[in-house]
């Protein structure tokens, strides 16, 4: 979420799917939206039918490209060059929405004199520490701003999403509204991207200048008072060693074009699971607490509640309320035991002390050297879905115990029984000591609860029937597990158990299985007044004195009274369906919508009006809930000494940021630089054409014998570019699709997509079995030879790309090799995401069987293949 979070203030899509219909141009990149979000794509089709230009930039000509007006293929992993060239095009031709840029972004801000750009240091920013392989962001700060605090090593990048870890920014930085000062953000940006030219795009991305020009013309036109453009992305952007910075580049482009907070303008992050947004808002992640409050770190901000608040509370902007949010969270968790005297139980929270992320702890498991005994897996299938899935499966065998909860007995639950490692004889079932518990899970139709969709909308699903047999919800499982553990702790009052003993766990139960009432839980999330347990109307009502409790401040307002669950409301009205579900925060459907009006509060244009200042009634009105103080006038100037939101002017739309501005420049919070920079993927077929720094210096390769890499640039053994992706007909690792006859039949077999040229080079016919290999492993797939795939001319030679949908595994109605066996575990520095696009591979007609293939797999496969 930090790509969006640092740029705008919140780690969520800035717009609603329906709003795409209001766009004049839509750039879809890093996503095959028609394939993976077909119903969301209906709004793209609506826009197209109304005359908008739909642009798809993607390595493959897929179902999205087929519906687009313009398709430009590029080499996987070069998005920043392409987007950077669009930024450069805007700047060199003076096409930015100047009034918006000057008024609403930090383009005029003057940057520290110490700052050195990648242009000066050949691919590195100033502050690089080659020993620690990390940056000190001190020199990235605004000029003469406050003392810096620096990155928190232990944190990933999810927390707070405000990005401003380094700079409390108590005062406005010096600004040059003419944008001429050579040290202002605008001029630095200009120099930074000056070499991102159409010629560079051709050389690096393989996109010829005329195609680039078509995209630039079509998209950049959607800017200014009368027009807007939207950008849609998905994991085609995020799953890279430069993932966060790719989204940052898009954010910069949108800020320059004035396409944020306005109808049909924005960035729509297309999430791939029903509640992927929800699972970061209320995070099952290691580095963040509900509502993007950072997890305390050992010996850092975690020394005391005061030190935590001192570090994270901003003097200006909405995060000035952080003390209210953390105290209310502690009150929700620890109840009456949380008092001012004991810092509201702050010391019962665990401190993070390193990389506890998925890959961080998984590699520990793989080594069997760490401390991990047991693992819970709920609704995820790492045996198929995780990068270097082979390593992922082998690591499972080092556990003492494993609990898997899902709708079906999926591959993760049976790694000890029928994984390829067992089949190949690399592991023997009889040798595996892991104790495995499989619990059948309840489906969405069998439990109450809410998902948060891709546009931050909380939508409730009602229980229709009871789950079958032993199937239960995760809420049931957690509640009854917690009950048991609390009973043990009650008999053992050591300090280590203090948090567990204090933890409030008295949920009302309902139905034949004593299911905890999801309404009760959502009410706790919404927040209450402690004294009378009355529900709070919203986060404005939260206090820092322990008089309120709130499980996730950004969701506050979803359950304002006992008879009103707004996530369950189903009376959508108006342009954005208000009355249907509840969008965080405060039911704002289009974030930063103050920017849809001029600084003086009047709409930029009648065509693009959204929220405006009603002079007569002195309040903000319009088609959406204003993402702004309802009565804060456009000409409001903060009195001296003001704090929090009151310290932001009436024309500062990005209220989460301490300066109220959209951040073209991110002084801190993104670990690999204040501006995006192109680095080649961790494995690449060409040298970086822009700098001698080949790949992201801060990315963690996690290189080791069971997670090896090809040589880069250009390992002759692996000359082609590899990418994995999803198909419409399946869902992720296949546990929810390969098990269903009506989906399995639509895409029954593991295949790879290659161009006729590549097929001819390797002598493969359509439908033939081919072997695809990387240093991590080999898989066999059917070749789908199609002109929709084509070689690109990159750095003077033809580069072939191999496409692999990754849905198959060793269980289910249709089975196949695990594409993720080919990928490496790696970590992008800010969010620790892996790189699934743009690694390298070899492909050959299956000749001599690869040594890691199992003959038995073929027998099983043939039953399925008939």
């Amino acid at each position: 979420m930090p790509g969006l979070g640092t740029s705008f203030g919140r780690g969520g899509a800035t717009m609603a799917l329906q709003d795409l219909a209001n766009a004049d141009a839509i750039l879809i990149m890093g996503s095959s939206m028609a394939e993976n979000h077909p119903v969301g794509f209906r709004w793209v089709i609506k826009a197209r039918e109304r005359g908008a230009t739909v642009i798809h930039v993607d390595p493959r000509f897929n179902r999205t490209s087929a519906m687009a007006d313009v398709w430009a293929p590029l080499r996987a992993g070069t998005d920043i060059v392409f987007l950077g060239a669009l930024v450069n095009h805007v700047l060199t031709h003076g096409l930015e929405f100047r009034q918006f840029v000057v008024a609403y972004t930090n383009a005029p801000a003057i940057i520290n004199d110490d700052f050195k750009d990648t242009e000066d240091l050949d691919g590195l920013f100033s502050g690089w520490d080659p020993e620690q392989r990390q940056y000190s962001p001190d020199s990235w700060a605004y000029k003469s701003s406050d003392p810096k605090v620096g990155h928190e090593d232990g944190h990933g990048g999810h927390a707070k999403d405000r990005g401003g870890e380094a700079s409390p920014m108590a005062h406005d930085p010096p600004r040059d509204p003419t944008l001429q000062d050579p040290r202002c953000v605008f001029q630095i940006l200009k120099r930074h991207f000056a070499r991102y030219t159409p010629a560079m795009v051709q050389e690096v991305c393989g996109v010829p200048p005329e195609a680039f020009q078509r995209v630039a013309d079509a998209y950049i036109r959607a800017s200014g008072p009368e027009r807007t453009g939207a950008i849609c992305y998905a994991v085609g952007w995020t799953q890279h060693s430069t993932g966060v910075q790719t989204i940052r580049t898009a954010a910069i482009l949108q800020l320059l074009l004035g396409n944020i907070g306005r109808p049909g303008g924005g960035i729509l992050a297309l999430r791939g699971h029903a509640s992927i947004q929800g699972s970061t808002d209320i995070p099952t992640l290691y580095d963040v607490l509900p509502g993007y409050l950072p997890m305390p770190t050992f010996a850092g901000d975690g020394t005391s509640l005061d030190s935590y608040i001192a570090k994270h509370r901003l003097p200006r902007g909405w995060w000035g309320n952080l003390d209210r949010y953390i105290v209310s969270l502690l009150k929700a968790w620890y109840g009456d035991a949380a008092t001012a005297a004991n810092d509201y139980g702050f010391d019962w929270l665990p401190r993070i002390s390193g990389d506890h992320s998925h890959f961080g702890y998984w590699l520990e498991m793989a080594d069997a050297t760490g401390t991990i005994d047991g693992l819970f897996v709920m609704g995820q299938n790492p045996a198929v879905g995780a990068p270097n899935a082979r390593l992922a499966r082998r690591a499972l065998a080092n556990l003492k115990w494993l609990v898997v909860r899902d709708l079906v007995e999926l591959e993760t639950a049976t790694f000890w029984l029928d994984s390829p490692e067992i089949a190949r004889g690399e592991m023997r079932t009889e040798d595996i000591a892991t104790e495995v518990f499989f619990f059948p899970a309840a489906a969405h139709t069998e439990k109450d609860g809410c998902f948060t969709n891709t546009q931050r909308l909380l939508q409730w699903h009602e229980r229709a029937v009871e789950p079958p047999g032993d199937a239960r919800s995760e809420a049931w499982f957690m509640y009854h597990l917690g009950r048991r553990l609390k009973a043990r702790a009650a008999a053992d009052q050591r300090p280590a158990n203090a948090g567990l003993n204090a933890l409030t766990w008295n949920y009302r139960t309902i139905g034949p299985h004593a299911e905890p009432d999801a309404n009760d839980i959502l009410q706790e999330i919404n927040g209450r007044r402690v004294a009378d347990r009355s529900l709070l109307p919203g986060f404005h009502a939260l206090e820092s004195d322990g008089s309120t409790s709130c499980g996730c401040w950004i969701y506050s307002g979803v359950y304002p009274s006992p008879d009103r669950n707004r996530a369950r409301e189903r009376k959508g009205q108006g342009r954005y369906g208000q009355g249907w579900g509840f969008a965080w925060p405060a039911d704002r459907r289009i974030l930063y919508n103050r920017a849809s009006a001029r600084p003086d509060g009047t709409p930029w244009s009648d065509r693009k009006k959204l929220v405006w200042w009603d002079r007569a009634n002195r309040e903000w009105v319009g088609h959406d809930t204003p993402d702004f103080g309802k009565r804060k006038a456009p000409d409001y100037v903060p009195p001296s000494g003001a704090t929090g939101d009151e310290a932001l002017r009436g024309d500062a739309p990005f209220i989460m940021h301490a300066d109220g501005m959209g951040w073209i420049w991110v002084p801190s919070g993104v670990k690999d630089g204040p501006l995006p920079t192109h680095y080649e993927p961790l494995e690449s077929v060409i040298p970086n054409q822009l700098y001698s720094q080949q790949s992201n210096p801060v990315a963690d390769r996690k290189e080791r014998p069971d997670n090896p890499y090809a040589g880069s640039p250009l390992d002759p053994r692996y000359p082609h570019v590899l990418m994995t992706y999803r198909l419409t007909e399946h869902h992720t690792s296949g546990a929810m699709s390969r098990t269903l006859s009506h989906l399995a039949e639509l895409q029954p077999e593991f295949f790879c997509e290659i161009s006729p040229e590549l097929a001819s080079n390797i002598g493969a016919a359509n439908g033939q079995h081919v072997t695809i290999s990387t240093p991590r492993g080999s898989v066999v797939a059917r070749a789908l030879v199609t002109a929709r795939m084509r070689p690109l001319r990159v750095h003077g030679r033809a580069v072939h790309q191999v496409g692999l949908p990754y849905h198959w595994g060793y269980r289910g109605l249709v089975r196949g090799d695990v594409a993720n066996d080919l990928l490496a575990i790696s970590e992008e520095p800010t969010v620790r995401i892996f790189e699934s696009k743009g690694l390298v591979c070899r492909i050959e007609v299956r000749g001599p069987r690869s040594e890691v293939r199992d003959p038995r797999a073929e027998v099983r496969g043939s039953e399925v293949r008939r």
Binding site: P38, R48, H56, F61, A66, D69, G767, R866
Partner: protein, 263 residues
């Protein structure tokens, strides 16, 4: 009300929601799990277990994908067209005419409906369909095809495929309105410079128009649709006439013989 489908392939994203929604609603079994290697089409054709079928037409033969941005929706050289096929519910339906048991009926909505409780699996309908739609299920030999969701239509609901279709490529409604809509759509597409789109609704042949109208780009044959579909029984009509004349003559002859004998 006489209803119809209008399947506008210029809005189809090839997602196959129609196939699945149909199978889920009508509880149609899967086709089996066969990889064809033919684009993204693995259910191949309409049949007893596929009542909606999305065709994938890769207009890429001999053409390298252009990388100048000219591929896609507006392209004339490099496109990937999708179209969801279905029973045409012909105005003169070969299957219905051929059915000797009265299993196949015309519903009040104009659709052609096979009554599974009456069908005896004779298979005459299968050879009489000019579109190769109706098909016998191997287990019991009975014939199956799109029911036009007769059950849903009776309750005022749209057929499952049309209800699901994410982009409203499949529209459902009164046939006259949809015919007008199709005509307007062609005009609109022409205006946008898309001049290879046409309406498929063979009214000039013996099927006499269909209750499944299509807006297609390129030739109907690209989508396995015959340009001039004919109901096989039109050829029988002459045969039946001759047979009737012959029968009449024979009857006359018999009568004559009878009466002559009496005299």
């Amino acid at each position: 009300m006489i209803t119809a489908f209008l399947t506008d392939s210029t809005l189809c994203i090839g997602c196959k929601a129609c196939e699945v929604a149909c199978k889920e609603w009508n509880q149609v079994p899967s086709d089996g799990y066969h990889f064809t290697g033919f684009s993204y089409d693995n259910t191949v054709a309409l049949g007893h277990s596929t009542w909606r079928h999305v065709k994938f037409v890769e207009r890429t033969a001999g053409v390298a994908a252009p990388i100048d941005g000219t591929a896609g929706y507006r392209s004339n050289t490099f496109r990937w067209d999708f179209s969801s096929d279905v029973c045409k519910h012909c105005s003169n339906a070969g299957c219905l005419e051929a059915c000797p048991t009265g299993s196949i009926v015309r519903t009040e909505f104009g659709g052609v409906y096979v009554q599974p409780d009456i069908c005896n699996g004779c298979g005459y309908c299968v050879v009489s369909c000019p579109f190769g739609v109706i098909d016998r299920r191997p287990e019991d030999g009975r014939a199956f095809k799109c029911t036009f969701c007769y059950d849903r239509q009776k309750a005022g609901l749209a057929p499952a495929c049309a209800a699901a279709c994410p982009t409203q490529s499949i529209q459902f409604g009164e046939i006259g309105e949809l015919r007008a809509k199709a005509a307007a759509r062609i005009a609109q597409l022409r205006e946008r410079g898309i001049d290879d789109a046409s309406i498929y609704d063979p009214q000039h042949t013996s099927v006499g128009g269909t209750h499944a109208i299509f807006v297609l780009r390129g030739r109907p044959e690209d989508y396995n649709l015959p340009s001039n579909p004919e109901v096989p029984t039109v050829h029988l009509r002459d045969g039946w006439s001759s047979a009737a004349v012959a029968a009449g003559l024979m009857l006359l002859g018999t009568a004559a013989a009878f009466f002559m004998q009496r005299e």
